[in-house]
């Protein structure tokens, strides 16, 4: 079930009551959370609950075997085996169809006939997320950064429903201690949670849906039918759409977890105020980028080596990070663009540092230009992320540069205001609305009920009928 629906609201109210009623009793509390999480996940397709149970069991067995062994080679073999199976499961569901079609087509081109059976497995919701969490768990066990969890704790960690569908990708060291510790049922930070949930719903239900239906989907569906200005606004609009969609979901997830007494890490930090791509990846999908940094980039060697060595590591990390999002050449290109951009940035920084050039404090205009050009590059890459094919992406890109003879049919003042507002707000301090939340939380409860209900009404009224799935829940 999707977050901003009545079904989920009913589910969560019941889950909240059950979880807190049982919170004085650790084992029943954990079992209730697990049952609720499996119920939530099984709502899409009950049989996929078996998948997450299987990955939990696999991670648990791998962790226990590694923990008991003192032989480094044996431990490494277990780690590699466990990761290989986890990635194999992910690879089958996510990439088997893509690979078999492309390999078979290559074979046909070479006159080798049909090599492989064509398959199209149904992609289980959230598989990329919980698989990455399972992998981070076993790696942390291998490095002895974590003690193995009990099967129940591990199951709750992987399946906890607020983060299950689309992150954040929480580390074992962040969530397992909270699962083991009793929460304070007397002091729930409900107003902060409410702020996050309502803000997230507004971003997703109102802003993201509006831009998708009014500019992004029409242009990407039929690029040649629209003007260069429409195509340009579609690119900018998609940047805002995906930010509002994904960060909106994350806000709701963090808020829901907070209501249950669990704290999640921040996943977005005003990404469109980044001054370069390295800065962007410190602000966008933070939990994924730190996963890629700690479990892929650094093991590859990180930035300890020659220019070409570091460039290789950056490119591999970003391309695989792109492919994590889906089995399509467009995601590979998206990751590759970010990789190339970061390589260029890295080379420039290291050469200037090697030459003894001290970077001056950027002037205001230099800062604005850095933010502007970083945003334009990110938008260019987003075109590939959104496009349905490489051909579709190039059609949109080419329309931006060649479609100036066609008049714009989609842009409106409200659309311009929406896109500009979201980008402008990111240039302001992050916690701008916090004082208001403090004031509201200190008013009488009946006032808070009225404010909450009116805000909810505003969101459901301004949003479209029906709820579109979150973009990232497909990954």
């Amino acid at each position: 079930m999707l977050f901003p629906t009545i079904d989920f609201a009913i589910f969560f109210v019941l889950a909240f009551a059950l979880a807190w009623a049982l919170s004085p009793f650790p084992a029943p509390w954990k079992l209730s959370l697990l049952g609720l999480s499996y119920f939530f996940y099984g709502w899409w397709d009950p049989k996929f609950v078996l998948l997450i149970v299987a990955e939990t069991a696999l991670a648990h067995v791998g962790a226990r075997l590694m923990h008991r062994s003192e032989d480094p080679k044996h431990r490494k073999a277990i780690l590699i085996g466990t990761i290989a199976v986890l990635l194999g499961i992910l690879g089958y569901f996510k990439y088997a169809g893509f690979l078999t079609v492309n390999i078979d087509n290559l074979a046909r081109s070479l006159g080798l006939g049909n090599l492989l059976p064509l398959i199209q497995p149904t992609l289980p919701v959230a598989i990329s997320f919980f698989t990455f969490m399972a992998i981070s768990y076993v790696i942390d066990i291998y490095h002895r950064q974590l003690e193995p969890a009990t099967p129940l704790d591990l199951a709750v960690y992987l399946a906890f429903f607020p983060h299950l569908v689309a992150g954040p990708i929480v580390r074992g060291g962040e969530l397992l201690p909270q699962i083991r510790t009793r929460r304070d049922a007397r002091h729930i930070d409900y107003s902060r949670a409410g702020q996050l949930i309502l803000r997230g719903m507004f971003k997703k239900v109102v802003v993201s849906s509006y831009l998708a239906s009014h500019i992004v989907d029409p242009v990407f569906t039929s690029p040649k039918s629209h003007s260069a200005l429409d195509a340009l606004f579609a690119a900018w609009g998609y940047a805002v759409q995906i930010y509002c969609d994904f960060s909106g979901y994350t806000d709701i997830a963090i808020g829901l977890a907070l209501l249950l007494g669990i704290r999640f890490p921040v996943n977005f930090d005003q990404p469109y105020r980044a001054v370069n791509l390295q800065d962007f990846w410190r602000r966008w999908h933070i939990t994924l980028s730190r996963w890629l940094r700690d479990y892929l980039y650094i093991p590859l060697g990180g930035n300890r080596g020659s220019e070409s060595f570091v460039a290789r590591n950056i490119l591999i990390t970003m391309i695989l990070g792109g492919l994590w999002h889906g089995a399509n050449w467009t995601f590979l290109i998206w990751g590759g663009l970010h990789g190339v951009g970061q390589v260029v940035g890295h080379i420039r920084r290291t050469r200037r540092a090697a030459a003894g050039i001290i970077e001056p404090e950027p002037t205001r205009w230099r800062h604005i230009l850095s933010v502007f050009w970083t945003f334009q590059f990110v938008c260019l890459a987003w075109i590939f992320f959104r496009a349905t094919s490489v051909h579709n992406a190039f059609a949109v890109v080419s329309q931006i540069f060649t479609g100036w003879s066609v008049t714009s049919t989609l842009i409106s003042p409200l659309m311009i205001l929406t896109i500009a507002s979201v980008i402008a707000l990111q240039q302001l301090p992050a916690r701008l609305g916090d004082r208001l939340v403090v004031e509201i939380s200190n008013t009488r409860l009946w006032i808070q009920v009225g404010v909450g209900a009116l805000l909810l009404l505003a969101i459901t009224t301004l949003g479209p009928t029906g709820v579109a799935p979150f973009i990232y829940y497909r990954f």
Binding site: S213, K224, F264, T407, L457, T461
Partner: protein
């Protein structure tokens, strides 16, 4: 105020500051002055907010329940929402929401009155001055004589499958430079539930605004559901099939009422056998309707994507290469599949109507 670095959680320990803490650390009031409550009070707060919202939004929620598929969920929702909506109407607390809906261009219950997804092809700035709908005053067939200065006007309508076809078709037609193709599609719609979305009303609007010369329709995937009553008319019984075919015929007559030609594209096979059987019924009724209305060409999407009487396949072979034409949900069509279907439709536009498409 200092920024928290990424990775730091945003919530404090949940304990509000003492007055001494507040006065000695003014910034704490900003970040950590939020009141906290016990779980029972938070639960009461949540339930109260949802209850108040339910009453305030009851008219929209009631409408949404009424237009939802017939079944237990709908019945339960109506049983809950009708009394709430009545109460809300009596005390007139829904006026705020109704006014907002009207300001947003919707009816009072929040249902869109216009299309949600509509894209326009290359602009036909004005119709020819001598144009009278349904009457051609030149001796040259406007479709056969389509050109960049006098493009053929083609309207594409449908549900989500219609959008899968329509997007590719509009793009391909726009590339020719001699067609102004307009796409009007909406997910989750069809002919069975005009209370949710009225395609006849929408088509009327499109015909009056665009005066298309050809209409291409692909819809029906959402139609295998009961007609709501009372009494409800279950899908597939004779009363249902008679009524549905009539609706198809009426829609086809409407589409051709101003002289436009009509191409009706059937639905492809579905992966789920039960759904496939239901779609086969819809296809048969649509085909029968098309044979009773003059000027309608019925195209079988199964020719390209596999029909409901053939085994389902997500792949077809084209030019010696495998093409993935269906999405993993087993229902919709991929962009590549849409392209193949679009080319098939274009070949029919060429052969039946003589439009000089490349």
């Amino acid at each position: 105020m200092s920024e928290l670095p990424p990775g730091e959680d945003l919530a404090d320990e949940g304990l509000p500051p003492t007055p001494e803490e507040r006065s000695s650390h003014p910034s704490m009031h900003w970040q950590q002055g939020r009141r906290t409550l016990s779980w029972i009070r938070v639960l009461a707060l949540m339930v109260s907010i949802l209850a108040v919202w339910l009453v305030l939004d009851s008219s929209t929620l009631l409408h949404n329940a009424e237009v939802s598929p017939v079944g237990t969920r709908r019945s339960l929702s109506l049983a809950l929402l009708r009394p709430l909506a009545s109460f809300a109407n009596v005390v007139q607390i829904t006026e705020l929401e109704k006014g907002a809906n009207r300001a947003l261009g919707r009816n009072a219950e929040g249902a869109p009155q216009g299309h949600v997804l509509k894209t326009a092809g290359p602009t036909v700035s004005t119709l020819p001055k001598h144009h009278t709908p349904g009457v051609t005053t030149t001796t040259i067939d406007p479709l056969k004589g389509a050109s960049p200065t006098s493009p053929a006007r083609i309207l594409l309508v449908g549900d989500s499958l219609g959008l899968d076809l329509g997007g590719s078709l509009q793009n391909a037609l726009a590339s020719t430079g001699i067609v102004a193709a307009t796409l009007d599609g909406k997910e989750s719609t069809g002919l069975t539930r005009p209370d949710y979305y009225s395609w006849p009303a929408e088509l009327n609007t499109d015909l009056a605004a665009l005066h298309p010369q050809v209409v291409v329709v692909m819809m029906g995937a959402n139609d295998p559901q009961d007609f709501p009553g009372p009494p409800d008319v279950p899908f597939g019984i004779p009363a249902w099939t008679t009524e549905y075919q009539k609706r198809c015929e009426d829609f086809m007559r409407l589409a051709t009422s101003q002289g436009a030609k009509l191409i009706w594209v059937s639905l492809p096979a579905m992966q789920d056998p039960a759904l496939n059987a239901r779609i086969a019924v819809v296809n048969q009724l649509q085909k029968q309707a098309s044979s009773s209305v003059p000027g309608v060409i019925y195209l079988d999407a199964g020719t390209v994507l596999g029909g409901t009487t053939s085994p389902y396949s997500a792949f077809v072979t084209q030019g010696g290469q495998n093409v993935n034409v269906r999405t993993p949900d087993g229902i919709h069509v991929t962009p590549q599949g849409g392209d193949l279907l679009a080319h098939y439709v274009m070949s029919q536009l060429r052969s039946h109507y003589g439009i000089p498409l490349p």
